[in-house]
Subunit: 338 residues, 2 copies
């Protein structure tokens, strides 16, 4: 096991490297942090840390930089989550409170996260499958054409066209609308399938085909996982990455454009608190030189969706984690109020 001082040395290395972006040497370390020992001692500790794989040197005889494993230890054991200051909290709240609809909430959240962390922000729209139905509306657009509108308690609206197998009268439509809403309004999406299962039986034979079509469209909309949307912002912060630009930034931009990749990335984090995935811990190759800090958010106790940031492995973890957690909390509040 590593001695207490060696852990302190690692912490100091991470902090300095994050600040300066340059490999940090033994002398600079003793000058900037009062560890109470000489550079020579620190050198020994560094050699040990390097043996264990926590730090590495880019070339012989340069300073050390933390490895992914080093950051991991730092995040797990050496650093807490830095809470936001009261003025920051107030700023977050003010910024989010002006939102007028769900799109706006998400858009504001993205901007806020990007500004606070100076990194790329990713916010997932509240998940359909975990939220509840507020209302289902059916509109007749043509004799055999309906529009199905689904409104969630988070304010999200989904609409689908339904082509009916047979003309569907106004009264049948009103009937279906009423029955549908009385069964599913206020219920969780995941419960809907079993609640509407026997609905066609309540209708006359002529209408059953249409009712079934409407229901299957509704169920499709519910389970359609690929409809999980997200919003990205702050990509300009990618320019802060480092000097070795193009090669690093390119795959990151590509990964960010693949919503599938991002959704999987966010989905993998099961931890109820803030999750940090560092460098190669990310399954997607393009993100091997980035870290992803994410957390679930939701209006109640339960997480409806995730949000987070993507930045260089060399990032201010305590600050970023604090910002992500705080933003998630306030977004949850806002959603609960609306």
């Amino acid at each position: 096991m590593l001695s207490e001082r060696r852990l302190q040395v690692l912490r100091a290395i991470v902090q300095d490297y994050v600040g300066t972006e340059e490999p940090v040497g033994s002398k600079a370390l003793t000058e900037r942090h009062n560890l109470g020992v000489s550079p020579a001692t620190v050198r020994n500790d560094m050699a040990a840390l390097e043996d264990e794989g926590f730090i590495a040197q880019p070339h012989t005889s340069a300073g050390r930089i933390p490895t992914d494993k080093g950051y991991r230890l730092f995040v797990d054991k050496l650093a807490g989550v830095k809470p936001m200051s009261p003025p920051e909290r107030r700023a977050i709240q003010n910024f989010l409170e002006g939102a007028v609809d769900l799109d706006d909430v998400v858009a504001r959240t993205v901007r806020l996260l990007a500004q606070l962390t100076r990194q790329v922000a990713v916010v997932q729209y509240p998940s359909l499958t975990r939220s509840t139905v507020r209302h289902v509306e059916l509109l007749s657009l043509a004799p055999a054409r309906l529009m199905l509108v689904l409104i969630t308690d988070t304010g999200r609206v989904e609409q689908r066209m339904v082509d009916c197998p047979a003309p569907f009268g106004e009264s049948s439509l009103a009937d279906l609308r009423a029955r549908l809403n009385s069964r599913v309004a206020g219920r969780r999406f995941s419960d809907v399938p079993s609640l509407v299962e026997d609905l066609p039986e309540a209708f006359e034979a002529d209408d059953r085909g249409t009712v079934s079509t409407v229901l299957s469209t509704l169920l499709e909309t519910l389970v359609e996982e690929n409809e999980e949307r997200l919003m990205i912002g702050g990509t300009a912060n990618l320019t802060r990455f480092g000097h070795d630009f193009p090669l690093v930034i390119r795959p990151v931009l590509e990964a960010l454009e693949e919503q599938v990749v991002l959704l999987k990335l966010l989905g993998e984090a099961k931890d109820p608190g803030v999750t940090v995935r560092i460098g190669h811990e990310n399954a997607h190759e393009g993100l091997n030189s980035t870290s992803v800090v994410s957390v679930g958010y939701g209006s109640g106790g339960e997480a409806l969706a995730k949000l987070g940031v993507v930045g260089p492995t060399r990032m201010d973890y305590p600050g970023t984690m604090g910002a992500v957690r705080a933003v998630a909390r306030y977004v949850g509040q806002i959603l609960a109020e609306s």
Copy 2:
């Protein structure tokens, strides 16, 4: 006026520079294009072109590169629009035809444009103010709370909450819904205000407050220009920009995040055909080293919105213009069908 040959020289310079990304010299020019004259002659022409401000040399005694003014002349007089090949056209059509809803159409269009041009693609959602109303729906969520849903003929759906000044009965609601739709369904958004002006008078005094509130919410939704959304894609193509990376790419990414900037950018192009704005012709400073190729698209003869690409001034103008025009055409078709 410039002689015919000098224009040919300019065209050759633009083509070569776009291809190689390197300043082009007189010798290389005569070798790659058979102009029928010697390098010395070309040198004289180049000197003249430089005097006129069409080309410039990065340093003394390097080749020449086109200036913004040079590209402008090239686009206006020397190059046509390169039409897409039949296989490309088929690919575009296939790619767009799978779309299931408006979001999907826009998303696919962005991907397509980005892939075809290998540049950053920007697609504006069909404008509210220029499209027509398909249906207006009113839902009662609580005794004094309504949801207003507006469906456009392009499939776009907007919803707003309405807090009523007084409870509003189911029958009044049905009445309002029916009257509203009979007046505005199928009409252009810009005509709606005058069509509903006198509607409150048809209701009893108790309900007039609510009707007015609903109407003003509806009108707000219609005029809300800042609700003009757009979708961006292909930002990874920014890495193709050049070697002088960070300084150029940063402001571009920042500009792309400001939807307002982009909307203004697209909005400025009044030309009915493909519009090209080169380098400093763009009002926004961050885009001074980029060119924007845009065009309107729409389901009928009229443009509902714009789409386009943002790329380095050193781009393949004929090809890009061809791709943008073709995509706009097919998107228009798809929208007209739905």
